[in-house]
Point group: C2
Chain length 305, copies 2
């Protein structure tokens, strides 16, 4: 049932309307694995530099995240410096240094090649394909992507798409990939490119999920304060995959519950900088917000009649 | 159980990415009354000029909308000329001529003064207050407003708010009125100003409803094509009030069902220009989309297990 995640581990420097957080732990594989770990085992494939602090590794190891695939190489860890606008759906990249991530060529360990659940974080589609080729017989493969790859490696991405069960992207990326401004057309257009399920992440506006014969829409959990939106999408994906792996089935019902768990964990991670909130999170808090989320979106008025 | 709506009847000239529609019937009271009429009786209080065409009046009368309160006065009917961006949440007003609406001083007929349900469309808060003063013992009063009144008649509006059961406004207006950027803080802040329920309309992102002890969020029904967003908010309000008036109760369950009906009717009106889609709409279509909407938002997976 183990999940393997391939992605980045990074040091982020964050500026948001709530304050600054210099040199904090980040990267898609960090957020993903911490979120997925609430649901079951997760194994990381990533690379860091010699500047990566033992405390950071320890922090992830202490959560029971399998780090045998976290390679340390001569050079610098991936660094991103970003600044969010008052409208936190918008952000500027102030600097970005790929470091050792530039020559990342993920090689899976023998037991990782036998994983059931594989998440291809936001790396070059060609690398995603190379990872996928190493996995023998996965039950479920999901992948994330971004505008950069759609623009510069579109053919690679389109070759990968039919091999994905699930693709996750944000609304602008969905528009870009499909060439459709309308999100319903975009979602359905991407479905026709091959994946069984398309998950469009809309930040504070929630998630739209398209599959062959169903469409599912949820709002984001409304929060009084968002401190740092970094990693919300990867946290969503981690909890989403974590739930699916624990549940073992992948029907529409399971996908919908997974979207709700993804939304719940994402609503926590943004309450503090970096991984801080996730690291302090308890299952009791998750359960309570899960129930609050169901109540928030419940037009059946099961509780209200 | 009759609803009285006070608002504008207008001629709109619309430019959207889908095309142009010059001099078409519009105005808050037009959209509201046509939508509300699907659920029960509705009575209009509005003013038009001598240029108002008998066919337009006939069209509304043929739907069984009570037009005894639609005054015709010397002068021009309210005209609005607007252009929508590719992102149809954004629009520019190219011209606006209030005409006879400038000196609109609504006077209710004796039977209108005994109405149970009152909707105060988007007019000056001082006029809304004057209308409210004429109604004897309403069961439910809802009101709409806009940025112009928040900026220029804020004190009048704040005096009115404690007398409203429901206030409807869009997200920018909610931020402006509350002085809070965050929508949860904004919604709760406006609740503290007096109304029992705050409905924040977010266009293609759906609706957030705040009441004393509950929060309800629904996405908008995702459409493959939006032709003309004009009147979506007033159509929402018409169906929302129509359902509440027909249902007779105003508990959380009824409010939530009303929000869904509002969202359903709003999803139809934007499919064509002006009132065209609403005028061709059948109850079978409403029922089908209501079910589709429930399925779209159903994280209980009642159908999916």
């Amino acid at each position: 049932m183990s999940i393997v995640v391939v992605g980045s581990i990074a040091y982020d420097s964050l500026e948001t309307p709530s304050g600054d957080a210099p040199d904090v732990l980040g990267g898609s594989a960090a957020y993903f694995s911490v979120a997925a770990r609430f649901f079951g085992p997760v194994s990381v494939v990533a690379v860091v530099g010699t500047d990566f602090k033992p405390e950071a590794r320890q922090l992830l190891a202490d959560r029971g995240i399998d780090l045998r695939g976290l390679e340390q190489r001569p050079g610098k860890t991936f660094r991103w410096h970003g600044r969010y606008h008052e409208d936190m759906n918008r952000r500027d990249t102030l600097s970005l240094a790929l470091g050792v991530f530039e020559n990342f060529s993920p090689t899976l360990l023998p037991d990782q090649r036998r994983c059931d659940y594989l998440f291809l974080g936001n790396i070059a589609p060609e690398l995603q394909e190379r990872v996928l080729a190493q996995v023998q017989n996965p039950k479920l493969v999901a992948g994330d992507t971004m505008d950069h790859w759609i623009a510069n490696a579109g053919d690679d991405l389109k070759r990968l798409l039919p091999r994905l069960d699930i693709i996750t992207l944000n609304d602008d990326e969905a528009r870009m990939l499909s060439g459709e401004h309308n999100l319903v057309k975009a979602g359905r257009g991407i479905l026709r490119m091959g994946p069984k399920t398309v998950l469009i992440k809309r930040g504070e506006y929630g998630v739209l999920q398209f599959s062959r014969d169903a469409m599912f829409a949820v709002p984001a959990y409304p929060l009084e304060e968002v401190v740092d939106p970094t990693g919300a999408g990867d946290t969503f994906a981690g909890a989403f995959m974590g739930y699916l792996a624990r549940n073992g089935r992948m029907n529409e019902s399971a996908l919908r519950t997974a979207v709700v768990y993804g939304s719940v964990l994402a609503s926590f991670v943004v309450e503090k900088f970096s991984l801080e909130r996730l690291l302090a999170l308890t299952w009791e808090e998750i359960d309570n917000r899960y129930r609050a989320f169901i109540e928030l979106t419940d037009s059946h008025h099961s509780r209200w009649t």
